[in-house]
């Protein structure tokens, strides 16, 4: 410390580097939601592509406003009873100065708020993959409004908020394995148990309509995930963010290879969908654990997640629940694996001092992790099922069977994703679009010296 600097000066100062880094990370996390939309959109049939894209995209609209209005306050406001937060100044982000720093960090509150906003946006969007082809768009919009309010905001407070009961217990959830992936996966399971299967589940061919879109989406998710994970240290002064970046990359690589190896042995082919799915499974699993494990630990975590998620996606056929795009099989299972493995692979001294079983920490951290996993899993599963049940009994959650069969895009969005009409090129518009009518040109003939045929 230079002479003459008093202790008071040790209060964190705004760091331009960290602030810039976190704004970029926030933008990267934002890109994950459209990435997810493409990941899911390619996996559905042609007739419901747009609905799948929109179910993710609408979260950017709805949850953004909820977050600013009251979500940030509920999740990260002053703790009330270890269950929820509330700070009136956070409502509408109205009482926050532009240069006011997030408590104990070197970045403005606004930066922390937008970074966390992007997590709040993508989490409900993750659920939508389980509901492909069959949910009314209005019901979905209402569902995510309610779900974000009564599930995501409180759970984010439990896991990350100062005073939240899981946070205080010492549960490690670096970037959202519990609050994001287990939360969304359990919610997906809760909702599909209420709304039921797609028409033709297990009978009709429901193969993905565009694997290139799936790969594009998976690539964008992988890219955005660096912001998700590396940004979760809220700065880059001490290398934890960089370690997290490395762990994110290696775990994802290991998971992709593990999924592909399983597929080759079990089904005889290395599929594109398997590569994309394995990558996402690895990203999910390293999310809670990457801040506390070594790169070799990350490889092990990724490989275990890739293998077990590849096995888990078949469960829906065995048990007969229609998790359309495997939100349970990838996000819930991957999140549980990653969160529990923290209890084995935490090296101590990185994100927290807690050590896992393999590093001499005994079973203590594993027990804490299991508490976090099952608390969030149970709460999200039950409350999501109740929300879906209430919506189903009031406004109805599902489109009509005929509409589902003919395609939800047309009935819910009055659009279709692709133009296939080779003969004649489609139909004339029912209402003629009005011609552009620049001022002053409407009533006058074109002024030209050339002879014009009339």
């Amino acid at each position: 410390m230079p002479p003459g600097i008093t202790l008071a000066a040790e209060a964190p100062q705004l760091s331009a580097a960290n602030t810039g880094f976190m704004l970029i990370c926030s933008a990267l996390v934002m890109l994950m939601t459209p990435g997810l939309a493409f990941f899911y959109g390619g996996m559905v049939r042609v007739k419901s592509t747009l609905n799948m894209l929109m179910m993710s995209f609408i979260s950017l609209g709805i949850v953004t406003l909820l977050w600013v209005l009251y979500g940030f306050s509920l999740a990260f406001g002053t703790d009330i009873g270890s269950l929820i937060g509330w700070t009136p100044d956070f409502v509408g982000l109205s009482g926050i100065g532009r240069d006011q720093l997030w408590d104990g960090y070197t970045i403005p509150v606004f930066v922390f708020a937008v970074f966390q906003l992007m997590f709040a946006v993508i989490t409900p969007a993750l659920i939508s993959g389980a509901l492909a082809d069959r949910v009314k768009f209005t019901a979905w919009a209402l569902f995510i409004t309610l779900w974000a309010t009564v599930v995501y905001f409180p759970v984010a407070h439990w896991v990350w908020g100062a005073g939240g009961w899981l946070f205080e217990m010492g549960v490690i959830d670096f970037a959202g394995g519990t609050a994001v992936h287990i939360n969304a996966g359990a919610a997906a399971l809760g909702v599909i148990l209420v709304i039921g299967k797609r028409v033709g589940f297990k009978k009709d061919l429901m193969r993905p309509h565009s694997l290139p879109l799936v790969m594009l989406g998976a690539g964008l998710l992988w890219f955005g995930w660096f912001g998700f994970n590396a940004g979760s240290w809220l700065g880059n002064d001490d290398g934890v963010g960089a370690a997290m970046f490395v762990n994110t990359q290696v775990a994802t690589a290991a998971a992709m290879l593990a999924w592909l190896a399983y597929e080759k042995i079990r089904h005889g082919a290395f599929t594109t969908l398997g590569a994309a799915s394995g990558a996402v499974a690895g990203l999910v699993a390293i999310t809670p654990s990457g801040g506390s494990c070594s790169p070799l630990g990350a490889i092990a975590i990724g490989a275990v997640a890739g293998l077990l998620c590849a096995m888990a996606v078949g469960l829906k056929y065995r048990f007969g629940y229609d998790d359309s795009l495997d939100v349970v099989g990838v996000h819930l299972v991957g999140g549980v694996i990653g969160s529990l493995l923290v209890g084995l692979f935490a090296t101590g001294g990185v994100q927290s001092d807690a050590k896992g079983l393999f590093y001499g920490g005994g079973f203590e951290q594993l027990g804490k992790q299991a508490t976090g996993v099952f608390a969030v899993l149970g709460y999200s599963l039950v409350v999501s099922a109740v929300l879906a049940f209430v919506l189903d009994r009031t406004i109805g959650m599902r489109v009509g069977e005929d509409d589902e069969i003919s395609g939800i895009d047309q009935v819910e969005h009055a659009e279709t994703a692709y133009e296939f009409s080779g003969a004649g090129g489609g139909t004339a518009p029912r209402k003629a679009p009005s011609a552009p009518n620049p001022a002053g040109t409407a009533a006058t003939a074109p002024q030209t010296d050339k002879k014009v045929d009339v």
Binding site: R207, A269, T271, V313, G314, D326
Partner: protein, 112 residues
């Protein structure tokens, strides 16, 4: 007149077109089709779920010819379409009562 229809593998289209031109055929119609024969389709795997895809992509080529040319033309198409592997397709002919060139109103062999 005869209508010769060939349902064959899509990638043989260029060879068949060249063979038809060499034979002196002036026009043909090609449509995308799907179907299966004795071999049925193939299996695809998506996240472990195996789908049997019965209908595989084919093209359907239709040519109108005079009666005398029909047998020879069938041979030409078969030769151009053949790969020797399963799923090469079928060629058949049916009698045609009338054919009219829309632009001129010519009928019968003159319309070909």
């Amino acid at each position: 007149m005869k209508l010769i229809t060939a349902v064959v593998k899509p990638h043989r289209l260029d060879e068949i077109k060249e063979a038809l031109q060499a034979f002196g055929i002036h026009g043909l119609t090609v449509t995308e089709a799907s179907g299966y024969g004795r071999q049925r389709g193939h299996t695809e795997v998506y996240r472990g779920a195996e789908y049997t895809v019965d209908l595989v992509p084919k093209i359907r080529i239709e040519v109108l010819v005079e009666d005398d040319d029909a047998e020879q033309l069938i041979d030409v198409i078969v030769k151009a379409a053949r790969t020797g592997k399963i799923g090469d397709g079928k060629v058949w002919s049916v009698p045609v009562d009338t054919a009219v060139r829309v632009r001129t109103g010519e009928r019968g062999p003159d319309a070909l």
